[in-house]
Point group: C2
Chain length 125, copies 2
């Protein structure tokens, strides 16, 4: 597994995790790769939250630097990449489910109901 | 429960949660209130990560605005507050545990080992 040199700000595993995941976008990229079948830059950019391209690019780079995501070229000239979660990235699934459950219970529900395990409103995210 | 008017950027409960929790500090404040017995501004500021006072103040305000934290004055002149999680805030415990487990497994361990349920190194966080 990837292990890069990094001086963590804390000995707390939560603080360490937040150095990588603690922003408004990173876990949405993980969500899209994990559950929504989105794997190209264009697909990831087209999510409902419209992650700005420069931020998406920066987040994907960080996720690759930390070994949560890997990519492979599926086209030359121009080169296009397909992004996939590694085992380390997929291991975030329980955390994503926890955040989804909390948000669904405490922020007025969302499009997907985790208690029913299905989408409860019209169009897809 | 508190319910404030807010235009969410997305119908995804994860994206909604990250509007409130998606930064490097907010969940550390929740951690300290939930597990570390820290309840005053000074105690929260003295955590290992040394949250800058202006950020701590802003995060506490946001947590109160969203009904995750409440406070009561325990002293007058100057007024001092004691901060406590509400039920909505305490409901983040499984999410915090998930983030801790992931960080412990994938970022080289931390001071507290969630698999043993105890601190594995010297001083306290």
């Amino acid at each position: 597994m990837t292990q890069i040199e990094h001086e963590f700000r804390s000995r707390c595993s939560i603080a360490r995790s937040l150095e990588i995941l603690g922003d408004k976008w990173t876990l949405l990229v993980v969500r899209d790769l994990l559950w929504h079948g989105k794997h190209t830059f264009q697909e990831l950019q087209n999510s409902e939250e419209h992650l700005p391209p420069n931020l998406l690019s920066q987040r994907l780079k960080r996720l690759m630097d930390w070994g949560l995501v890997e990519r492979e070229a599926y086209q030359d000239r121009p080169v296009r990449y397909r992004y996939m979660l590694t085992e380390r990235g997929r291991a975030l699934e329980p955390t994503l489910l926890g955040i989804m459950n909390w948000g669904h219970s405490h922020l007025g529900g969302g499009l997907f109901d985790p208690t029913l395990g299905k989408t409860v409103a019209g169009s897809s995210v």
